[in-house]
């Protein structure tokens, strides 16, 4: 049963899934909706609230599904539209919502629109795309995939013209100046919402329009169109959301929230590398600085926080010096680097150090925003840097120590990608089944943290105030919402640390540790001293002295 709440996404824990990678229901070596339905009980058990599915549309798969060849059907290998509907029903029945990726900016060059458009300048679909007889227009626009693309224009010999693309050359950009395109993409959204979807993660939204003499990103026309989409969504549907993928500085992402009338949510891209920087450099500065530069957002909006996803750990929003530092510390092997980033999973990035994994998860679970867990990171899955592109972080989910990690009963050679089988992260060692059996596994820890987070809307809705203890290795902040104040303290260092916190404002309160419900010494006017284990953290509820002590009225006479 879904809990009715128009702001549900503010409290939700998201879980990102690649359909092909999660579970194979028909034994062909590729994950599908049938398999996914079979794993919904696990996801419910874990406690996540919303599933985010990567593109499952028909595609030539030159960009792992982000090159869509048909927006309104399901790739044959994943199932049918009916399967999607059944999956949505089953997820909803278990109290989970589902959003999916929608690639607004471009299509595959195999999309019938493009195939028709390239045939002649008179084609009805010609103006679905952006054409030019030269490759000099919009010269200020940067090239995003600098390691594979030389230009944002590619010559099409059949069309006898250049076409515009901000990503791969096989992904021509749609022409949003064409009202038919705008309507067609709106209709696509309506189609999926009518199937029961709870929203969209909108891919590459800053690039919808092009204007000369601009960098062709974040243009006002783009915002106007996005507001149109939101209006349509709000008029017809309830509790559906739009999540923006805009890999930009927070101040540049801020307009995508509008006045609460554009996107409900947006990823906080620059925070993610700074969490890693903070831990490696043992200083809170990069993290606090990033929040200092994060503007306020409308009350009905929310940031999405993440540690890892299906892409590389992007360093686009890092300075050259920061990038060098990140490459040096987290991606020394060139095979780990993709585009401007590092294509590794969480556990390998953190040397499989359980303490650091917990610490970083604790940060994204407690900072302002809704956390997203990338499939497999809840068990500390590893990656395979030998695979091409970003496939190394998209390997089959590791369910058991059986053949193909329990992902598929097929011949191992049939798998869409090999399972991780190395000595440290191999499926024989790292899998759901074994971690479910072990009460102190990372999986159980994640489940507990999700459960604790759900108890306090403060995490999703509260304000944040950073404390600034003299010890810079300690990151401490207070989250407040209504009458609840939570104190979150993190030791970013690999050695034990102590810190004295100025909690005068909370003098008299009794800190209760949220994971074990143990009571800490009372807060006074004096500096509050805490010691933390290496990479240790505390989640403390600063309960007013008499809060929660209100009696039931039956305690003394119950017997």
């Amino acid at each position: 049963m879904l809990r009715a709440d128009p702001l549900w996404y503010k409290d939700a824990v998201f879980y990102e899934i690649h359909v092909k990678a999660f579970a194979d229901g028909n034994g062909d070596g590729i994950g599908d909706f049938q398999g996914l339905i079979g794993k919904l009980d696990y996801l419910q058990w874990l406690g996540v609230d919303c599933l985010w599915l990567l593109p499952f549309y028909p595609s030539p798969l030159r960009d792992d599904g982000y090159d869509v060849a048909d927006f309104r059907s399901v790739a044959e290998q994943y199932g049918t539209t009916e399967d999607v509907r059944r999956f949505l029903d089953e997820a909803h029945r278990r109290g989970m919502r589902v959003i999916v990726d929608l690639v607004l900016n471009h299509t595959s060059d195999q999309h019938p629109w493009f195939q028709e458009a390239r045939q002649s300048p008179q084609s009805l679909k010609r103006h679905f795309y952006v054409w030019s007889d030269n490759d000099r227009k919009y010269g200020k626009a940067r090239i995003i995939f600098i390691d594979t693309e030389k230009s944002n224009w590619t010559w099409d010999s059949e069309a006898k013209a250049f076409y515009w693309h901000r990503f791969f050359s096989h992904q021509p950009d749609l022409n949003y100046d064409n009202p038919e395109v705008r309507q067609a993409m709106l209709d696509t959204m309506v189609f999926w919402l009518d199937q029961g979807l709870d929203g969209f993660r909108c891919d590459a939204v800053p690039y919808l329009f092009e204007r000369e003499s601009t960098i062709c990103e974040n243009l006002p026309e783009t915002h106007d169109y996005l507001k149109d989409i939101r209006r349509r969504l709000d008029e017809t549907y309830q509790e559906r959301i739009l999540l923006a993928e805009a890999n930009q500085w927070p101040s540049d992402v801020r307009p995508y929230f509008g006045n609460g009338d554009e996107f409900h949510m947006a990823f906080h891209f620059p925070l993610m590398p700074r969490l890693y920087m903070g831990v490696r450099s043992e200083t809170r500065d990069p993290i606090v600085d990033m929040f200092t530069h994060t503007p306020e957002i409308p009350p009905n909006c929310q940031w999405c926080l993440f540690l890892r996803n299906h892409d590389e750990l992007t360093l686009e929003m890092c300075s050259g010096e920061e990038r060098d530092y990140m490459y040096y510390t987290y991606g020394r092997d060139p095979k780990m680097r993709r585009n401007i980033g590092i294509a590794r999973r969480l556990a390998p990035l953190l040397d499989n150090d359980r303490r650091k994994i917990e610490l970083l998860n604790s940060l994204v679970f407690t900072m302002p925003g809704s956390p997203i867990i990338y499939y497999g990171d809840e068990i500390g899955m590893g990656d395979n840097i030998q695979l091409k592109d970003r496939d190394g972080v998209r390997t089959p989910m590791q369910w058991t120590m059986d053949r193909n990690a329990g992902f598929s009963p097929c011949d191992p050679a049939q798998l869409y990608l090999p399972v991780v089988a190395d000595a440290l992260y191999g499926y024989q060692v790292v899998n759901v089944e074994s971690q479910k059996e072990a009460p102190h596994s990372l999986l159980h820890w994640m489940k507990r943290m999700i459960a604790v987070r759900k108890r306090f809307p403060t995490f999703g809705r509260g304000t944040i105030t950073f404390l600034r203890p003299a010890n810079g290795k300690v990151l401490a902040y207070v989250r407040r919402h209504e009458n609840i104040a939570l104190l979150l303290v993190h030791n970013l260092a690999g050695s034990a640390q102590s810190a004295e916190l100025d909690l005068k404002e909370f003098a008299g309160s009794m800190p209760i540790e949220l994971l074990g419900e143990s009571q800490f010494p009372q807060v006074t006017d004096r500096p509050y001293a805490l010691t933390l284990a290496p990479y240790g953290y505390y989640w403390l509820n600063l309960k007013p002295e008499h809060a929660g002590m209100e009696p039931y009225g039956i305690e003394l006479t119950a017997l």
């Binding site: 009225g553 305690e555 119950a558 017997l559």
Partner: protein
């Protein structure tokens, strides 16, 4: 007879002591304001209604620091013989919750049983030192059934207001009734009386050093009374006024009292699994109804307590409760406080499922028992809000209905309990 647990001084005293007819056991711990008048009332009551009886007052004290034992000595004076025995208090005893506030009650009971037996007394009355409402009638009500009618165990029955004893009325008493077929009030502590026969045949052979001692003596004695083939009755003692002592956490209280019942269900399986229906036990003393006062019950806080359990204990409940019961409990989470209704049948189902999970050791037993607390709060909140606007008679009818549910749903418990054992 094993008596090594007795203090040396008590053993020596007993060796030279003359036989007595009645032992009045007084359990104290810092009860200087209540115990002296209490003991006086008991002695005077005996003098009036049992003039021929030779009485020994035994004060088992848990180490009072407020001069309780001296005050009792003064109060007893030469009106009766007095033996003061400081009883042992094990570390684990401090965790036990009791309205009397006397730690180590199980040690004190064992001492009293041993003294009674050694002195060939016909009966032993045990009274908590913090009770203020003891009057001279108590001696007669507690002792007469044993001396005159051959009863083995007299259980206390106090006049209570409608929402006093919520755990007793909604779980402990109806479950005991359904299990053992005897409708007892299940009022824990205050006062009991035991015959020499019960002491010799039932109390003394108990495994005093084993796990059961960690569940508190009161539920233990209560279950012994109904599970063993003993003659029992209840004594209507009027209201129970007492010096209130700290009771600890509600979850500790639930775990201890319910744990005692569940623990003894394993021991007495053969006794209860064949019992069908129930019958009242005889009463001595004037008939009593239920008081009308409601007290300051905070229904909203209890519903919130239930909801917090729903948030925090869901994975635990999912292990304990079968899918259908779990689903019904889940659905309660969406009710607002005013519309919150936890049905009696669901409550009984929950209690039986917890008993089964306890038996099957699905979880650490203390965690399991404590996890029942929010559900108890939920059912109690529903019970109170559903009857608050009604008269006392309606409350009594609802409780009778609940008893019926416990009895009619018992076959489910028996079947699944046996199924596990097979």
């Amino acid at each position: 007879m094993e008596d090594s647990f007795l203090p040396e001084s008590a053993r020596i005293w007993l060796e030279g002591a003359e036989p007595v007819d009645l032992v009045i056991g007084l359990l104290t711990f810092n009860d200087t304001t209540t115990a002296p008048s209490l003991v006086r009332a008991m002695i005077e009551g005996c003098a009036r209604s049992l003039p021929q009886q030779r009485i020994l007052v035994v004060n088992c004290d848990a180490g009072s620091q407020d001069g309780t034992t001296q005050a009792i000595e003064q109060s007893v004076g030469d009106k009766a013989r007095l033996l003061t025995i400081p009883h042992a208090v094990l570390g684990s005893s401090y965790k036990l919750v009791s309205e009397s506030g006397v730690p180590g009650r199980e040690s004190a009971f064992r001492i009293l049983a041993t003294v009674t037996d050694k002195l060939n007394a016909a009966a032993c009355v045990v009274v908590d030192g913090n009770v203020k409402s003891v009057d001279e009638h108590w001696s007669q009500l507690l002792v007469d059934p044993i001396v005159e009618k051959g009863v083995d165990c007299v259980l206390p029955w106090f006049l209570r207001n409608r929402y006093e004893g919520t755990l007793t009325n909604t779980l402990l008493a109806p479950l005991t009734t359904a299990l053992y077929g005897k409708r007892i009030p299940y009022h824990l502590g205050g006062a009991y009386a035991f015959s020499a026969n019960m002491i010799r045949s039932t109390l003394l052979p108990q495994p005093w050093g084993e796990e059961i001692a960690r569940h508190g003596i009161d539920g233990w004695v209560m279950t012994l009374a109904v599970a063993e083939s003993l003659q029992i009755c209840r004594a209507a003692l009027g209201p129970r006024l007492q010096q209130v002592k700290p009771m600890g956490e509600l979850s500790d209280l639930v775990a201890q009292s319910v744990g005692c019942l569940f623990y003894l269900m394993e021991r007495y399986q053969e006794k209860w699994e064949t019992v069908k229906g129930s019958a009242p036990i005889p009463t001595v003393g004037p008939p009593m109804g239920m008081g009308a006062a409601t007290g300051a019950i905070n229904v909203e806080r209890m519903v919130n307590g239930f909801r917090q359990g729903l948030r925090d204990l869901l994975p635990v409940w999912q292990i304990i409760l079968p899918a259908e019961t779990f689903q019904q409990v889940l659905e309660l989470g969406v009710e607002d406080t005013d519309g919150f209704r936890f049905s009696p049948s669901l409550w009984v189902q929950v209690v039986y499922d917890f008993a089964l999970a306890y038996h099957e050791r699905l979880l650490h037993r203390e965690h399991l028992l404590k996890a029942l607390t929010p559900l108890y709060l939920g059912y109690t909140a529903s019970f109170v809000s559903g009857t608050r606007a009604q008269g006392v008679e309606q409350v009594e009818r609802e409780l009778a209905r609940l008893n019926d549910h416990f009895e009619t749903m018992k076959p489910y418990l028996v079947q699944r309990w046996r199924w596990h054992d097979e």
